[in-house]
């Protein structure tokens, strides 16, 4: 039996129109289709500007899809992110799709530990149980325990990124989107993150990632998707629509 996809891109289209810059229009995806499966790592490659981060953000629902469908298997049912109501996207993000961005969006006055366990609390996990899990993960990521109760505002770039990663890995997600998760990490911490990703894969998570360092690609060479091959992002044309 053929494996069941967990994420299906169907003829997706995406363009950006910059109204404040002479209506410049940039086409990033033009009817792009792809299937993703559980337990599979997919690495997006291509020069900067080829749409790697854009694709992750479209799957997460941050970027609106111009055309086509982004089907996600959510609690056994196909849901089209490109057309989903906000309430559905809230639950998708809580239960099905995790996303680790390049930078942590720090909330002042919220401790690093509480930042990390937020996804667990959103799933109604008991506070003490969640904190216990959070402490274990922070320890694993080498964040000193005397920093756990501090807001991450003053943390270094690498520390903030590890907080961000802890937040992404604390709760299991069927689909995990990673945008340069190892960019600001030293070798030791980089290896820990690679191990976390491998554990998620063994747990049947579908991982889709963009990696800054080509060396990371070797660690999971299941699949690379070269976005520079599908597009023509050089094509820039003035938009006909006047503002």
């Amino acid at each position: 039996m053929a494996p069941r996809w967990i994420l299906k891109l169907e003829n997706i289209e995406k363009d950006f129109v910059f109204h404040l810059q002479q209506g410049t229009r940039i086409v990033v995806f033009d009817r792009f289709s792809y299937l993703f499966f559980p337990g599979q790592a997919s690495i997006l490659t291509g020069p900067s500007g080829s749409g790697k981060s854009t694709l992750l953000r479209m799957i997460f629902g941050t970027y609106k899809t111009g055309g086509g469908h982004i089907w996600v298997r959510h609690r056994g049912r196909g849901v089209d992110i490109a057309a989903a109501q906000p309430a559905r996207i809230y639950t998708l993000r809580r239960d099905t799709i995790g996303y680790v961005s390049q930078f942590l969006r720090v909330v002042p006055r919220v401790s690093a530990l509480d930042t990390v366990i937020e996804p667990l609390l959103a799933r109604n996990m008991d506070l003490e149980k969640a904190r216990k899990k959070g402490r274990a993960l922070l320890e694993r990521l080498n964040i000193p325990s005397n920093m756990w109760h501090l807001s991450a505002t003053t943390f270094s770039g690498g520390e903030q990124q590890r907080i961000n990663l802890a937040r992404g890995f604390i709760a299991p997600f069927p689909i995990l989107l990673l945008d340069e998760p190892t960019a600001s990490l030293d070798l030791k911490n980089r290896q820990i993150v690679i191990d976390l990703i491998k554990e998620a894969l063994a747990d049947n998570t579908c991982v889709i990632g963009v990696f800054h360092d080509p060396a990371d690609h070797r660690d999971f060479d299941d699949h690379t998707i070269d976005l520079s091959l599908m597009l023509n992002q050089e094509v820039m044309q003035p938009c006909t629509q006047k503002n």
Partner: protein, 263 residues
């Protein structure tokens, strides 16, 4: 962002085709939006775009020229613009809270902090003094005001404390929705951060809905699930907060988002 609300089929509040003209001057025009239980909605746009007019129409403080404000009360969906004044007042008093930018307008400045909270509790039907005082103390603690200040006049409070007191006084009767007009404007950034933190905790702990009018996009991103963008009285764009702020489509939204200084 604050915790995601649970799925819910029925909106708590639905505004349809709402317009308000002040004589020939347009306040807001043909506005439509919904708020689900537990959802925090931000209304953003520059000064004079009609944000506060819209909020005041919802709060029953201004009578709209046209359109409806449906509220999901125990008796079903009630159009606040077409119901008896007594019913509308009752719904507004028991189910909604209203926080203004200027705390001095929302508080009684000549009675104590505890009195401001107690006043609302008594309006809600509570009579037992000990009980009222106990609840006032609990609420002061919840909004991070030193309970020792319960007998002090709000005039002796800092701006941030007044604002938190105003929020507490509005929440004691457990409204379903809070309507807030620029609650963080005019406060120091550190004080703002504390207020935002208090609001985040309250919203996720109480499954409270909120309509937040603000021109501060960073505050909007932090607190709101969805945003509506207003320009010259019209609603120009709406969507999830991260969609609006990271992938704005309309020329005006792009201008708004690109005009912000990032510290």
């Amino acid at each position: 962002m604050t915790r995601m609300p649970e799925n819910s089929s029925q909106p708590l509040l639905a505004v349809t085709h709402l317009s308000k003209f002040f004589g020939r001057q347009l306040g807001c025009h043909d506005i439509g939006f919904t708020v689900s239980p537990g959802e925090v909605i931000g209304v953003v746009g520059e000064s004079g775009s009609g944000k506060s007019t819209l909020l005041n129409c919802i709060a029953g403080r201004i009578k709209p020229s046209n359109g409806s404000v449906f509220f999901n009360s125990s008796a079903g969906m009630i159009d606040l613009c077409r119901s008896s004044e007594a019913l509308v007042r009752k719904i507004i008093r028991t189910q909604t809270g209203y926080v203004t930018q200027n705390a001095a307008q929302g508080l009684k400045m000549h009675i104590s902090a505890g009195g401001n909270i107690g006043d609302k509790l008594m309006a809600g039907g509570m009579r037992h003094y000990g009980q009222i005082r106990k609840m006032a103390l609990a609420w002061l603690e919840r909004v991070e005001i030193d309970p020792d200040r319960i007998d002090d006049m709000p005039a002796t409070f800092s701006g941030g404390m007044q604002q938190r007191l105003q929020i507490a006084a509005n929440l004691v009767n457990s409204p379903k929705i809070m309507l807030m007009d620029e609650p963080t404007s005019g406060l120091d950034v550190s004080v703002q951060a504390r207020l935002i933190d208090v609001l985040r905790k309250l919203v996720s702990g109480l499954n409270l809905s909120m309509v937040l009018v603000t021109h501060d996009l960073a505050v909007a991103r932090l607190l709101c699930h969805r945003l509506y963008v207003m320009k010259q009285g019209e609603m120009v764009e709406s969507g999830l907060s991260d969609q609006i702020l990271d992938d704005p489509r309309q020329p005006y939204t792009q201008l708004l988002v690109s005009s912000v200084l990032k510290p």
